[in-house]
Amino acid sequence: MSILTPDAPAQARSYSAYSRPFWQRVVMSREFVVIALLIAAIVYSRSSVEYFDGPQTMYYLFRDSASILLLALPMTAIIITGEIDLSVASTVALTSVCFGMLHVDGGLSVGVAAILAIGLGAVCGAVNGFLVAYVGLPSIAVTIGTMALFRGIGAGLLGTESRTGFPDSWTDLAKQRIVEDQPYPMILIPFVVLAIGFALLLHFSPFGRGVFEIGLNDEAATFTGVDVARTKAILFVLAGTVAGVVGIYTTLVTGVARAENSMGLELQVIAAVLLGGVSIFGGRGALHGVIAGVLLIGVIQRAMLLSGETVNIINIVIGVLLVLSVMSTSLLAPVRRLVAASKGARSSGRTSDSAGKRSLS
């Protein structure tokens, strides 16, 4: 109860928002726009892009997007707190290198090497988390540093060499389909488990409410009993741990451990998270939008690749889409205000949205 009390005025203020019927709240959200776009993109591609309805398309789509899907889960939570983690792709590379060296040079079994590598990912995340949450440094500066540091360590360990020779049973497992002739690769199982876990954590737990509250106003969060530092630290450790999992997946699916693995992946992850409706200022966002955002980018890439576009054109399209999606928040604000004004005094209290609340801090 003590947590709910300070919440009460906020609820009263936005009461009208909750008075809309249930279906409206589901449909009239930014997340739903992304989902609608995703469906539109799939329908359009299936009907007019040659080979898109082929048997391999969705399999490759899931397999190529798996790393981004996985990394987007903790990234969503981190960005909702108003922080950012640019070092995830470097953590992926470092864990990939260490996994390869532990298995090939160290002679450890794949399972043991994987557990150690995931542990290393967690340590990487803990370094970020400690510096951001307890030392109080800005996360963008810390993770730019560790982005260079982690990949640098990986490159220092392996140089330009690579490690191969993982047992076929494992590399095949990484590429196998859950059901034969269906487009769902094995990696979707851990992803679905993690996605459910993160959805429960973020949207259905006190911890998750703390995450949103920190993003809206971390001082207020502190006063309502949220341990801001601990919450942030936990999220960075989770990001590192998931990056460790992705490092092993990347290594097994390509069969090669190299320090150049997943170069630039962090930006793809952040792009997908923002496209999925998460506010870069924190406090707003939902996992279903993010998952749809990742898949939307994946579908557009696949469709354009299949119709023979070059990587530059694809980047232009996705870049424009991203800018539009970020702009849409500010473009929609005046529209909302107009709508609110036309409804009269009943909605007068609703003009302050996340950006407005943010300015209170």
Binding site: Q11, Y18, F22, R25, V26, S29, E31, F32, I35, L38, I39, I42, E50, Y51, D53, G54, P55, Q56, T57, M58, Y59, Y60, L61, D64, S162, T164, T171, K175, D181, Q182, P183, Y184, V192, A195, A199, H203, F204, V253, T254, G255, V256, R258, E260, N261, S262, M263, A286, L287, H288, G289, I291, A292, L295, R302, L305, L306, G308, T310, V311, N312
Partner: protein
């Protein structure tokens, strides 16, 4: 209640997107196995290490010419940066499109093998050129040059330029560079066997660094005043040595040859510092790769010992490890250097 409703809506939305994502893309069993490739002719996709690289622009122009000659359909795709992950995406895409053949310059000998394996399972022929993968994962490798040929052409050129007599030295890359050491060993053997009047007086190492190579060249000329020629079997070394020679008194007196690229060497060939240097012709490399892909698709060649026709280049035989040797390295001199841009 309100709070629960909000939770409910989020839960509903999460389930909704999960189910959509998984079902909207289901129904996978429909035909479309690809393989026919769409047109009448052979469809060939070139995947260079990266796009916008003059070397590959030249070689793939050769490939396109060959594909046009045999009436196939040519396509060039590739990553913007030279990464194996990027190439994998394009190999997968070509697999889906059911192209007949892929011609790839591999960014990593191992990382592409799985994707190539999937392509070959879909009955696509895979030829590597310029940079090979592991021999067991592709159908054929077009080798631009073998060590013996590279060694011989450089000795021949220096012998012609200094009148088959006098002191020469090597300006190599790093002291432990595998390729360079092998070539230098072969060149020494060739000189000992066929050019008794040529004496190798020194081998210096420029570490494939422009300034180091430049300084080593200067030192070489000082310590060996009677030096007649320098062989630099590395593109960085020959360009740095040419830069030094072009401004020194030794210009025109000390011959310089080796392995270089036309764009780096054009200036020094034009001003007379360098008479002739060698490398393979990338355009021929792409041309041969395209014809080899065509021969594989048509079933004309299957393994070692089989022969095929490669248009203007004539007949080729598949050698050990399923590789085809392009032939003698190509000599670049004032007469032909302006035809190349890489």
């Amino acid at each position: 209640m309100k709070l629960q409703n909000r939770r409910l809506s989020t839960l509903a939305a999460v389930t909704l997107v999960a189910s959509l994502a998984l079902t909207a893309c289901g129904s996978d069993d429909e035909g479309g196995s690809g393989g026919s490739g769409g047109g009448d002719g052979t469809t060939v996709t070139f995947i260079p290490k990266n796009l916008g690289n003059p070397y590959f622009d030249t070689s793939n122009a050769g490939g396109e010419k060959a594909v046009d000659e045999f009436g196939g359909s040519y396509e060039e795709v590739g990553p913007a940066e030279g990464s194996p992950d990027g190439q994998v995406t394009y190999i997968n895409t070509a697999t889906q499109q059911g192209r007949n053949a892929l011609v790839i310059s591999a960014n990593d000998p191992d990382a592409l093998c799985d994707a190539i394996g999937e392509a070959r399972d879909a009955d696509i022929k895979v030829v590597t050129y310029d940079a090979d993968t592991n021999p067991d994962c592709r159908d054929l490798f077009i080798n631009q040059a073998d060590s013996a040929g590279i060694a011989k052409v450089q000795v021949d050129m220096i012998a012609e330029q200094i009148g088959d007599k006098g002191e020469i030295a090597f300006l190599s890359a790093a002291a432990n560079a595998t390729n360079q050491n092998e070539w230098i060993k072969l060149m020494e053997e060739e000189i000992a066997a066929n050019h008794p009047d040529i004496e190798v007086v020194d081998t210096v190492y420029g570490d494939d660094d422009d300034q180091t190579s430049f300084d080593r060249t200067a030192a070489l000329l000082q310590s060996h005043p009677d030096l007649k020629g320098i062989i630099s079997p590395t593109t960085v070394g020959i360009a740095a040595a040419a830069r030094y020679l072009s401004t020194s008194d030794a210009k025109g007196k000390v011959a310089l040859t080796g392995l270089g690229t036309p764009n780096q060497m054009r200036e020094y060939v034009t001003d007379g510092t360098v008479t002739e240097f060698a490398l393979w012709n990338p355009a021929d490399l792409g041309y041969l790769a395209a014809y080899a892909a065509k021969a594989l698709v048509d079933g004309d060649i299957e393994g070692e010992g089989d022969t095929f026709e490669a248009g203007d280049l004539g007949e080729y035989t598949v050698g050990p490890d399923n590789s085809v040797l392009l032939g003698e390295p190509f000599r670049f001199n004032a007469d032909n250097i302006d035809e190349f841009d890489f």
